[in-house]
Every structure is written in C-alpha cells, then in structure tokens.
C-alpha cells in the first residue's frame, strides 16, 4: 500500500495538468456558489420554487455546494482520463510492468489515486461550504445534512472510476475525453427513451442522484399526488448500493481488460 502511494506520488507530483484542473475546480466551485446566490437574489420567483431559504444558510449550503460541485467533477474526471491515457500513450504503464509492477498493482494505484482525488475534492468542497456558511449563514446548524459530503465523496469516486474505465477502453487522450463528456448527455437521452424507471439505474444517474437538486424531493412532494405524476426514485440505500456496485464493476472491468490486453 505504502509503495503504491509512494509510486503514484512520485509519478504525479509534477504533473501540471492535474494541478491546473484542480486549481480551476477550486476557483469555480465557490464562484458558482456566489453566482447562484446572486442569481436567486435577482430571481426571487425561482428561489421560491427551488428553495425557501438562503442557499448559504446551514444546512442548505451542504446540498447546494455538493450539487454545484458535482458539475465540476468533470474537470477532475478529465484529469483521471488524461493521467491514465498518458500512461498508455507514453508507454509508462508498460514500462512500470516491465520493471516489476503487477497489473493488479497498476489498477490498485489508479484506485488509490481516485480515492485521494475524491478525498481532496470532498475536503475542499466541505471546507468551502463550511467557510461560506460561517460567513454568510444566519444560523450555525452545520451538523444537519453534513452527510451530503460523504455522498459527494462516493459520487466523485464513482465519476472518476468511470473516467478511468473510459480511459482504459479508449486509450487515446483526446478521444477518451470527448467520448467521456459525450457519454453524459447520451446516457440521459438513452435512459429517458428507454424508460424513466430504467434510467434511475444508469450509472451516471445513480452517481448524480447522490447529490440531488436541492429541495428536489420537497418540490416533487409538494406537487399534487396522483397515479400519473408518481415519480419513481431510488432510495438512498439503493443508490448507495448501486453506486458501490458500479465502482467495483469499473475497476473489475479495467483489471480484466488490462489482464487480457497485450501492452
């Protein structure tokens, strides 16, 4: 474990693309929060639909910031794709194996990286929410809904492991990034064409729903109840189980591909 962490650190500590993408993420997340706050102030009618409270107020800030940050996960997912495809393009993954690394260690190394990146993103998002909340919130009830940060952590692991699978499948950096980005709307379109119920089980949908639109369920529940507008939603435990299955599947499939593939 220590060896794998040391190896990933040695490989990535001077990889500027990762630093730049993470820096952009660090800037856009709070900026987006302020923009949303400003937007709701300018559009009180929308605020009334989505939230009845100030987005910066505890505990609402947790749902706002995790939901907002989830959009920018794509930046960090791109870094996962870039790092993995570079490893293939530069033949460094091949060289690592020649030098004695096993394919299992290669996968484990990427898993460790995904966990660290997810932890860093979650920690930053949490700190952002905490600081913004402490500055802007009218109350100090920050314990409530704090679990959303854990769900965000699982969500990022899900996105990044999916990005890793894409990178291993496609191999070429530019094509892998484009197909990964295109997959998001494709999944939404295909899922909705097949059926709304089935769509709830699609991987990115499962990950996305871990940090849902703030007050989405409240808005749905506040609507008129009849058989026609009953919306099928997975429970949190179902979402978590499915997310876990998808994460394991992503790494298992990549291991299977790497094990069979000539490098």
């Amino acid at each position: 474990m220590r060896q794998i962490i040391a190896l990933e650190y040695a490989k990535l500590r001077k990889f500027h693309t990762l630093k730049i993408l993470f820096a952009v993420y660090m800037v856009v997340v709070p900026c987006w929060m302020y923009f949303m706050n400003f937007f709701f102030k300018m559009n009180p009618e929308l605020k009334a639909i989505f939230t009845q409270a100030n987005p910066f107020d505890f505990p609402h800030i947790w749902s706002f910031i995790t939901y907002s940050a989830s959009f920018f996960n794509i930046l960090l997912a791109v870094s996962v794709v870039t790092i993995t495809t570079n490893d293939i393009q530069f033949k460094t993954m091949r060289q690592n194996i020649i030098e004695g690394l096993t394919k299992r260690q290669v996968i484990f190394g990427k898993f460790v990286f995904v966990i660290f990146l997810s932890a860093a993103a979650t920690l930053y998002t949490f700190l952002c929410g905490l600081v913004l909340g402490l500055i802007e919130s009218s109350n100090m009830d920050f314990y409530q809904n704090i679990h959303l940060n854990v769900l965000y952590f699982i969500q990022t692991i899900g996105y990044f492991s999916f990005a890793f699978l894409f990178a291993i499948l496609v191999k070429r950096p530019a094509i892998a990034i484009v197909t990964f980005i295109i997959y998001f709307p494709v999944e939404t379109i295909v899922g909705n064409i097949i059926s709304h119920k089935m769509y709830q089980f699609f991987p990115l949908k499962v990950y996305a729903d871990l940090t849902p639109i703030p007050f989405f369920k409240a808005v749905i529940n506040s609507g008129p109840k009849n058989a026609d507008n009953d919306i099928f939603l997975l429970s949190l435990s179902e979402q978590l189980s499915l997310a876990g299955v998808y994460i394991v599947l992503c790494f298992a499939i990549t291991y299977f591909i790497l094990k069979r593939r000539d490098l």
């Binding site: 490989k11 690592n96 020649i98």
Partner: protein, 299 residues
Amino acid sequence: MSEIVLQVDNLSKKYKKVEAVKGVSFDIRKGNVYGLLGPNGSGKTTTLAMLMGILHPTQGSFSWFGNGQEDRNRLRIGCLLETPNFYPYLNAYDNLRVTATIKNMPNPKARIEEVLEYVDLKERGKRTFRTYSLGMKQRLAVAAALLSDPEVLVLDEPTNGLDPEGIAEMRELILKIGSEGKTIILASHILDEVQKICSHVVMLKQGEMVYNGSMTDLLLQRKSYKLMADEPQKLISVLRGLPQVRILSEEPDSLMVELDEQLTGSDLNRLVAEQGVYLSELHAYQKSLETIFLERMKL
C-alpha cells in the same frame, strides 16, 4: 555448467494471421552474455516482450529463476525494451525515483546519483525527459535498467540513437557489467558489437530459432580456407568431388572454400593429397559474425 536463470520452452506468439514467434526454446545460464540476433521482424522484441510480461504467449512457457512466470521475477531484472519510456514531464532523477519505488529500493538517492554518473547524465539530470536527445533518453533507460543492480539485464538495441563514441561506451559498459558476473541478454543489429560482447548467441529468422549455442562454436563452425596449388584446375576438380567441401570463390591463383563442421584444415590437406594434389598454401579465415549471420539468413 552454471545455473539456468531463464528457461524458454516452445514459446510462440501469433497475431491474427502473422506468427511472429514460432516455438522458440532456449536456456539462459547465469553469468553469460547472450546475443539475440535476427533481422527486423524476426521476433526478437516480441520474444523479449513475452519474457518481460507485456505480451501474452500464444503457446509455450518460460521460467525466470526457476519461479515460472511470477510477476516478482521482473524485480530482479533490469530491462530496456525498444524505446525508452519515461514520464516526459519528470526529470531524470524523478523518473529514476519512480523505477526505484517499483523496485522496492529503500534509499535510492545515492544509487540514482551513481547510475546517472555512470551514464553521464548527472549534469543534465534536472532537465525534463521531454527535452532529451534520443541518445540521452537511451542512456537514461540504461541507467533505469541498472538502477536496482539486477541479476539479469535485458537490453533491446541499447545503442539505438547513440553516436559512435556512445556506442563504444555502451559496449564497454556491457562488457564491464558482464565481467561482474551478471547475465545479459542483448538484442542488437550491430553484429560487430555482439561478436565483441556476447559469449552465446540465439539467432532468429522469421520467428524461428536457427541457432542457439556459444559464439565460439558458431564462429569455428564457419571457418573458410584460402587454398593454392601448383595445379589449380586439378584442385578444383578434386574439390568438386568432395561433398564435405563447398567452393565459395575461384580466383585465378587461389580458391576460397568452406568445410563441413566436422572437417579441419589438415583433413582437407590430407583429402586432396590422397587425390594427388598438393597444396602450396592453406590459410584459415575466421568469418565474422556478420558474414555468418547473413549466410544463415539467406539459407
């Protein structure tokens, strides 16, 4: 006989319609320098890639250090396969640190300095890999292969991209490593270099092994002789009647011949004398590895 470090048994690799390696079998013994020879596309790199765990053999097996194909075997091997592959955004020190981490080296700093000094890259070690010339990249790859002081060194075209001075240095380096008792497997096109360095040869042609044995045996097997006699025409007709002798060239005053592996120069002298032809000159010529190689590839 020294111990076997690598046993290759009927190793084959097939890509859709092309069979790159066809049932190759050989042993590599400890402390020897082996030359893996063959023209482009003969299967040298494919064979080495299978032995280094990055290609799956279609058939056959191999065993490093008597441990089969275990991944941990590769920790005991230093390898430069085809082109040097490093992280372009890292400098030489950082790239070697990656290798050292894979090789489980606890305090690699001093050793990294040492190998960079060894390949004359210490001064430029702080520059990123992407700024290196091909020769510098090649030298860094050799440094990486040597880093963990491996028991076996696998070098695939290590002089690629090196200037004549670099080639000479690399040859000295390989000889030096070989003299330290390390086992080396060297794939190279530069046959003069292989002849000077290697004690054993494995020769491949279109994926098939055409020779496996010691360099001395290979060179001795293929001696040629320059013959002169008072009656050259009679000598020619006598030689044509000897199935163990092959005439290579006929000059106005001399002949170049090649003998069967079992026949010596004195045997030849005796055979022609029995036919009433007396040689005025008989010179043995040692063929170069290059000549032997080219002959074998034409067969």
